[in-house]
C-alpha cells in the first residue's frame, strides 16, 4: 500500500462509495422496520422503501459520475465503466422491486428480508463493478452471492425452491473457492492483488506460468456465476425453483456485475491466454444453451437455457479487441438486462399463486385473452431472438462485428448458426401465444400498476436500445479509451 500514510478516509472516498452506502442504509432501514410492522401492511410500505432505496442509488450514481477517480487506498475506482454498471444494477433492482410488489402478495411471502436482500445484493454487485482490487472483488462477489442464495429459496413452502437454494449455495461456494484460489495464485505470480499492478506486470514481458493457472481458476469461478458452459449445470434447476422476480434479478444484475469483473480482469489486467479460454467456453455455452432450450416445456427452464446461450454470445466480445469488445460486451449486458428482466416480469405475473402456470401449454392463446401482455412478452422474445429495432439485435450485432474485426470468423459462424437455432424455440412461445386455442382454465389477471411501470420501463429500454443504440454504446466506449490509454 503506497498510501499507507493516509489512514483516515476522506470525503472523496465516501463519494466514490456513495451508491453502496445508500443501498446499505435503505436495506438496514427495511430490516429494522420489518419486525415493527403488521405483516400484511408491511408488504407495501417496505416495498416502497426498497424502491426509494434503489432510486436513491440511481441518483447517487449520477452524482458520483461527476467525481471520477480512485478511492479507499486505490481499492475502488469510479469511472465511466463503474457508473455504467452501477446504473444498470440499480435500475434492474428498481424494476424487480416493482415486479415483486404484486408477486409478494399473490404468493403470500413475507416481504421484509426479501426487499432487504435485494438491496444488499445490489450493494455487492455495484461494488464488484467499481472494485479494482481482487480481494475486494471477492468480498463483493460474496455479498452478492449470499443474498441471491437466500433469495432463491424464498418460496419456503415449495420444496423445489429450497432445492434451488441449496443447490445454488453448494455449487456456488465451490465456485467462489475456485475464484479465491485463482486470486491467491495470481498474487503469487505477480506480487499484487491490484488489477492495475497485475496488468503492468503482465504487460511488461515474461508471463509466469502461474498466472495462466490463476486466470483459469478465476475464470471457472466467474464462469459459474454467469452460467457459462461447462459450469452451467445448476442454472435450469435453480431458475425453475426460485421465485420468478428473483430469477429476473439474478439472471441480469449479478451477471452484469460478474461480466464487469471479467472485463476488468481480461482487458485491464490483460489476462494471458484469454482468447482460447473464451473461444471454447463461448462456443460451448451457445451450443449447449440453445440445444437444451429446444426441448423445454417449462418457460422458466427455457429462459434458463436461453440465458446460458446469451452468456455465450456475450463472451464472444471478450475474445475481441478491447476497443470494440468492451463496449460490445457492456451494451450486451444492458440490452440483455432490459429484455430478460421484462420477460421474467411477465412470467411472474402470469404464474399466479404458487407459480402454477409456468409451462408452455399454459400460455396457449394468451394473444387473444390478454393482447397487451402477449404483445409485451412478444417484444422481449423478439429481442431475445435478435430481431431489428430491439436491443437484442444491436447487442448481437456489436458482439459479432467486434469479433469479425478481431478475425474470429469461426466463432462468429458458430454464433450465427446458434442464433438461427435459437429463433426456433423463442418462436415456439410466440406461436403458442398467438396461434393456439385459448385455455379458459388459466386465469389472466389485469396488470397492476407496479408491474405496469416495470414492464413499461423494460419495453422502453429494449426499444430504445434497438432504435438509438448510439449514445449507450458511445458511453460504453469511453471505458475502452480509458483502459487502453
Amino acid at each position: 500500500m503506497n498510501h499507507a500514510a493516509q489512514v483516515i478516509p476522506q470525503a472523496a472516498d465516501y463519494i466514490r462509495l456513495l451508491p453502496e452506502i445508500v443501498l446499505s442504509i435503505f436495506g438496514m432501514v427495511i430490516m429494522l422496520l420489518d419486525p415493527l410492522m403488521d405483516e400484511r401492511r408491511s408488504q407495501r410500505i417496505l416495498g416502497a422503501v426498497a424502491l426509494a432505496g434503489s432510486l436513491a442509488a440511481l441518483a447517487a450514481t449520477l452524482f458520483q459520475a461527476q467525481y471520477p477517480g480512485l478511492g479507499f487506498w486505490n481499492m475502488i475506482q469510479v469511472d465511466a465503466f463503474s457508473v455504467f454498471f452501477h446504473f444498470l444494477v440499480a435500475a434492474v433492482a428498481a424494476v424487480v422491486i416493482l415486479t415483486s410488489y404484486e408477486y409478494m402478495e399473490v404468493q403470500e411471502i413475507r416481504a421484509g428480508e426479501y426487499y432487504g436482500l435485494i438491496l444488499f445484493g445490489a450493494v455487492g454487485m455495484s461494488l464488484m463493478s467499481s472494485a479494482v482490487e481482487l480481494v475486494l472483488i471477492f468480498i463483493a462477489l460474496e455479498i452478492s452471492s449470499i443474498s441471491t442464495y437466500v433469495l432463491a429459496g424464498f418460496r419456503r413452502r415449495a420444496a423445489i425452491s429450497s432445492e434451488a437454494s441449496v443447490k445454488y449455495f453448494l455449487l456456488g461456494s465451490f465456485a467462489t473457492a475456485f475464484f479465491l484460489y485463482g486470486v491467491a495464485l495470481m498474487f503469487g505470480a505477480t506480487g499484487s492483488t491490484s488489477i492495475k499492478d497485475i496488468g503492468n506486470v503482465l504487460r511488461s514481458g515474461q508471463i509466469p506460468a502461474l498466472a495462466y493457472v490463476g486466470v483459469a481458476l478465476m475464470f471457472v469461478g466467474l464462469g459459474f456465476k454467469v452460467a457459462a458452459a461447462p459450469f452451467h449445470i445448476w442454472t435450469p434447476d435453480v431458475y425453475e425453483g426460485a421465485p420468478s422476480p428473483v430469477v429476473g434479478f439474478m439472471s441480469t444484475a449479478p451477471k452484469a456485475a460478474v461480466f464487469a469483473v471479467l472485463l476488468r480482469l481480461m482487458f485491464e489486467a490483460n489476462a494471458p491466454g484469454r482468447i482460447w479460454l473464451i473461444w471454447v467456453v463461448a462456443a460451448l455455452s451457445m451450443t449447449i444453451g440453445n440445444l437444451g432450450a429446444l426441448v423445454q416445456d417449462n418457460v422458466k427452464r427455457l429462459l434458463a437455457y436461453s440465458s446460458i446461450a446469451h452468456a455465450g454470445y456475450l463472451l464472444i466480445a471478450f475474445a475481441a479487441l478491447p476497443n470494440n469488445g468492451i463496449p460490445a460486451a457492456m451494451f450486451y449486458t444492458a440490452a440483455y438486462a432490459a429484455m430478460n428482466v421484462g420477460a421474467f416480469a411477465v412470467v411472474s405475473h402470469f404464474a399466479s399463486a404458487g407459480e402454477r402456470y409456468v409451462t408452455l401449454e399454459d400460455y396457449s392463446g394468451l394473444g387473444s385473452r390478454s393482447p397487451l401482455l402477449a404483445a409485451i412478452l412478444t417484444i422481449f422474445l423478439l429481442s431475445l431472438i435478435g430481431i431489428p429495432i430491439t436491443g437484442g439485435f444491436f447487442a448481437k450485432f456489436y458482439v459479432f462485428s467486434a469479433a469479425l474485426q478481431a478475425n474470429l470468423v469461426g466463432l462468429v459462424i458458430i454464433g450465427v448458426i446458434n442464433s438461427a437455432v435459437a429463433a426456433y424455440y423463442y418462436l415456439r412461445v410466440i406461436v403458442v401465444i398467438y396461434m393456439r386455442e385459448p385455455r379458459e382454465d388459466v386465469p389472466v389477471s389485469p396488470i397492476p400498476a407496479g408491474l405496469g411501470v416495470a414492464l413499461a420501463i423494460s419495453v422502453v429500454a429494449t426499444i430504445y436500445l434497438g432504435v438509438l443504440p448510439g449514445r449507450v454504446l458511445e458511453y460504453a466506449g469511453k471505458t475502452a479509451a480509458e483502459w487502453t490509454r
Binding site: 423478439l382 450465427v416 429463433a423 396461434m435 466506449g477
Partner: protein, 504 residues
C-alpha cells in the same frame, strides 16, 4: 417541381402505413371503421406513391428522391433511401396491391380484425422499405421486419395447417438471411460503411482488402438469402405451404411483392456489388432458373388444389425473372423487371379470385367446381382475362416481360432461350386446363348452381388489376422508360468487364 416533397416523399410513402397501423391500435373495436380506415390509409399511400413515377427524371442517371441522414454514428448507419426506375415501380406495385388486399379481406376476416389490418399495414411499410433502402443495414432491417407480420398473418388468419406453414416460412427465410447478415457485416468490417454506393465504389476500385478471397462467399451469402425468398428451385418448398395456408391478402402480398424482394435483391446487390462473381456463377444459376420454370410448371399441372397451382406457377414465373437477370443483357434485365411487375399484378389478381371462391365454398379443390361460368358469369370473365394475362397473351402484361426475358436469354445462350420458351407453353397448359375444369361444362355440384356472382366490392378489387394488365400490355413503354436507364446503370460494370476480357 416541389423539391421539399421530393426529399420527403420516400419517407412519407414508407411510413404512412406504419403510422396508420399505430393509430389503429387506439381504435375501438368497431370492425367497419377499422376496415374503412385501413382502406383510406392504403389508398392515400398509393396516391402519394404515384408522385414517384410522375416526377421521375428519366434523363437523370442514378437514384432519385434521395434522403441521406445519419441514424447511428457507431456503427456507421445512415437513413439512406433512394429510388431508381426498378425500385420505384416495385414500390408502386406494393402500394397498388395493398388497398386491394384490404378490399378482399373485408368480409373474409371477421375475427381479430384490428390486429389483421395493423399487421397488413406494418407489412406494407416493411416491404416498401426493402425496395428503397440504399444502406445495407437499413435494407437488412426492413428485410427482417417483413418476416414477423407475414408469419403472423399466415399463422393466425390462415387455414388448416397454418402454424406449420408460418413456422416453416419464418425459419427458412430467417436462417437464409443470417448468411446475408454475415456477408453485410464482413463488408462493414472491411469498408467501415453500410452505404450501398460507397461499398460499390470501394469494391470496384479494389480498395477492400482480402476481397478476392472472400468475394465468392459474400456472393453466396447474399444469394442464398435471395434464392430462398424468390424461391429458386431447391429452396422452394416453403412457398406452396405458405400460400395454401395463408389468408387471401397474405397470398396476394406474398406472391405479388414478397417474392420480388428476392429477385430485386439479386438485381441490386448480387449484380451491383459482385459483378465478376455474378458472371462466373451465372451458368448454374440460370440452370436453376430453368429448372424452376419447367419444374414449377409441371408440378402446377398436376395440382388438384387451385391455390397450390397458382403457387407453383409463381415458382415458374419467378424462374423467368432469374433467367433474365443472369443473362446480363439489357433486354433480359428489362424483361425481368417487367415480369416482376406483371406477375405481381396478375398473380395477385389470381389469388384474389381464388380467395373469392373460397369465401363462398370454403375449398380450393378444383374437383369441387365445374361449370362455374353459368352461375357466375362476371367472375368467369374476370378469371379468364387474368388467366390470359398470366399465360402471356400478346397485348396483355405477361407477354411483354417474358418476351424480353427470352430474347435476352437467347442472346446469352440459345439453349437457355429455347428451354425457357417451353415455359410459356406449359403455363398455357396448366392455367387453361384449370380454367376449363373450373368453369366450363355443366354445373357438377348442386351447391355451386346458386353461388352469387361478384359483389360490387369484389369487382372494385378486380377492376384495377385487370385494367393495369391491359395497359401494361399495350403501352409497356410507360414502365420501361424508367426501368431501362436503371438497368443500363446496373449493367455498366458488365460492359466494362466484357471489354476488359476482349481487350486481353
Amino acid at each position: 417541381m416541389n423539391s421539399t416533397l421530393d426529399s420527403w416523399i420516400l419517407t412519407l410513402v414508407t411510413f404512412i402505413p406504419l403510422a396508420g397501423g399505430i393509430l389503429l391500435i387506439m381504435f375501438p373495436r368497431r370492425d367497419r371503421d377499422i376496415r374503412l380506415f385501413a382502406l383510406v390509409v392504403s389508398l392515400l399511400d398509393f396516391v402519394l406513391s404515384l408522385h414517384l413515377p410522375t416526377h421521375f427524371q428519366h434523363a437523370q442517371a442514378g437514384f432519385q428522391y434521395e434522403v441521406n441522414r445519419l441514424w447511428i454514428a457507431n456503427p456507421n448507419i445512415h437513413y439512406h433511401m433512394g429510388a431508381d426506375g426498378i425500385s420505384m415501380w416495385l414500390v408502386v406495385l406494393t402500394t397498388f396491391l395493398t388497398p386491394l388486399c384490404v378490399l378482399i379481406s373485408w368480409k373474409s376476416i371477421h375475427e381479430r380484425v384490428k390486429e389483421f389490418f395493423i399487421l397488413l399495414l406494418i407489412l406494407e411499410t416493411a416491404l416498401i422499405g426493402v425496395f428503397i433502402s440504399l444502406d445495407l443495414f437499413l435494407f437488412y432491417f426492413f428485410w427482417e421486419a417483413t418476416l414477423i407480420p407475414m408469419a403472423l398473418l399466415i399463422g393466425i388468419y390462415g387455414h388448416g395447417r397454418r402454424v406449420y406453414a408460418a413456422i416453416k416460412f419464418f425459419l427458412y427465410t430467417m436462417i437464409a438471411s443470417m448468411f446475408m447478415l454475415a456477408a453485410i457485416l464482413w463488408l462493414y468490417a472491411k469498408t467501415g460503411t453500410f452505404d450501398f454506393t460507397a461499398i460499390q465504389t470501394a469494391i470496384s476500385s479494389g480498395q477492400v482488402e482480402n476481397f478476392a478471397a472472400a468475394a465468392p462467399w459474400l456472393f453466396l451469402g447474399f444469394f442464398v438469402a435471395f434464392a430462398v425468398k424468390v424461391p429458386l428451385f431447391p429452396f422452394h418448398t416453403w412457398l406452396p405451404d405458405a400460400h395454401v395456408e395463408a389468408p387471401t391478402a397474405g397470398s396476394v402480398l406474398l406472391a405479388g411483392v414478397l417474392l420480388k424482394m428476392g429477385t430485386y435483391g439479386m438485381l441490386r446487390f448480387n449484380l451491383g456489388l459482385f459483378p465478376e462473381q455474378s458472371r462466373s456463377n451465372a451458368p448454374w444459376i440460370m440452370v436453376l432458373g430453368l429448372i424452376g420454370i419447367i419444374y414449377g410448371a409441371l408440378v402446377a399441372m398436376v395440382q388438384p388444389n387451385m391455390k397450390k397451382l397458382i403457387a407453383y406457377s409463381s415458382i415458374s414465373h419467378l424462374g423467368f425473372v432469374v433467367l433474365g437477370i443472369f443473362s446480363f443483357t439489357p433486354l433480359g434485365l428489362d424483361g425481368a423487371t417487367f415480369v416482376m411487375l406483371a406477375h405481381g399484378v396478375s398473380t395477385g389478381a389470381l389469388f384474389m379470385l381464388a380467395g373469392i371462391i373460397y369465401e363462398r365454398r370454403h375449398t380450393y379443390e378444383i374437383s369441387d367446381f365445374g361449370g362455374l361460368a353459368t352461375p357466375m358469369p362476371v367472375y368467369a370473365t374476370f378469371f379468364s382475362f387474368i388467366v390470359l394475362s398470366s399465360v402471356g397473351l400478346p397485348l396483355l402484361n405477361g407477354f411483354v416481360g417474358e418476351f424480353l426475358v427470352l430474347s435476352g436469354a437467347f442472346r446469352a445462350r440459345a439453349i437457355y432461350g429455347i428451354l425457357g420458351a417451353t415455359g410459356v407453353i406449359w403455363s398455357a397448359c396448366y392455367l387453361l386446363w384449370m380454367y376449363q375444369r373450373v368453369f366450363f361444362g355443366k354445373v357438377k355440384h348442386e351447391v355451386n348452381a346458386t353461388l352469387p356472382d361478384l359483389s360490387g366490392r369484389e369487382q372494385a378489387a378486380l377492376w384495377p388489376p385487370a385494367v393495369t394488365a391491359l395497359v401494361m400490355g399495350v403501352v409497356p413503354l410507360l414502365w420501361l422508360n424508367a426501368i431501362d436507364p436503371a438497368v443500363q446503370s446496373v449493367l455498366a460494370p458488365f460492359t466494362q468487364l466484357a471489354s476488359k476480357v476482349v481487350g486481353r
